[in-house]
């Protein structure tokens, strides 16, 4: 089966610009998560979708971040306007329903804000 795919793999933008990251989960996975790793530190949770609904968005840092998952398939994460501290690697993961289902991660999008 195809894994979780993320696009783009890298993005370099200037402070104040807008960037949209895309994630295509594994087909049939209702759960979709966004995480990010900033400056080589721990992987921080951003939010969790169950199908098209936001189950938990407690990790979203501020209102400059907007995540959507229209139709319950792919998801986008928009950062507008981007700030320097938004630089990092953004990971998307998906899993099947059930509390014991491991997350399958994409290779991430490396975002650099200059």
């Amino acid at each position: 089966e195809a894994g979780v795919t993320q696009f783009p793999s890298h993005s370099v933008i200037e402070k104040g610009q807008t960037v949209t990251l895309r994630c295509d989960p594994i087909s049939g996975h209702d759960n979709l998560y966004w995480y990010r790793r900033v400056m080589g530190k721990e992987i921080k949770f951003l939010l969790h979708f169950v199908k098209e609904s936001k189950q938990d968005e407690s990790g979203m840092p501020n209102n400059r971040f907007l995540a959507e998952r229209t139709g319950g398939t792919y998801s986008t994460l928009k950062v507008q306007p981007a700030e320097l501290e938004d630089s990092g690697v953004y990971f998307c993961a998906s899993s099947q329903p059930g509390r014991g289902s491991p997350l399958h991660f994409g290779n991430g999008t490396r975002l650099t804000v200059t």
């Binding site: 995480y35 530190k41 721990e42 992987i43 329903p97 991660f105």
Partner: protein, 113 residues
């Protein structure tokens, strides 16, 4: 609050030796624990998991041990190989299916030839 931490940020092991990576967690309600391996330029890759009703689980060359009394988790890699070089993350999840997975800061494992 919830936190998952690691005792050591880096670990250097001789090729062929066994590696032990440790992790402490603070949430007593954690029900499910996972180890992930992250290689450069890739996303975290699932290695092995364990539920809170178990204290040991074995996979291929890997063993996870869970000590709920002291809230400690470890990953043992047997006969460490160069391909094992990566950053290893422990992660925990609560009992609810809606619970998010919380990651620790990672341990970088390097292999000496």
């Amino acid at each position: 609050g919830e936190s998952v931490g690691l005792h050591l940020p880096t670990l250097s092991v001789q090729e062929g030796d066994n590696s032990i990576i440790n992790c402490a967690y603070s949430n007593s309600a954690s029900d499910y624990f996972i180890w992930y391996k992250q290689e450069s330029g890739k996303g975290p890759q699932f290695i092995i998991d364990i539920r809170s009703n178990m204290d040991k689980r074995q996979g291929q060359r890997v063993t996870v041990l869970l000590n709920k009394t002291v809230k400690h988790l470890s990953l043992q890699i047997a006969a460490t190989q160069p391909g094992d070089s990566a950053v290893y993350f422990c992660a925990e999840k609560g009992i609810s299916s809606a619970s998010k997975i919380i990651f620790g800061s990672g341990t970088r494992l390097s292999i000496r030839p």
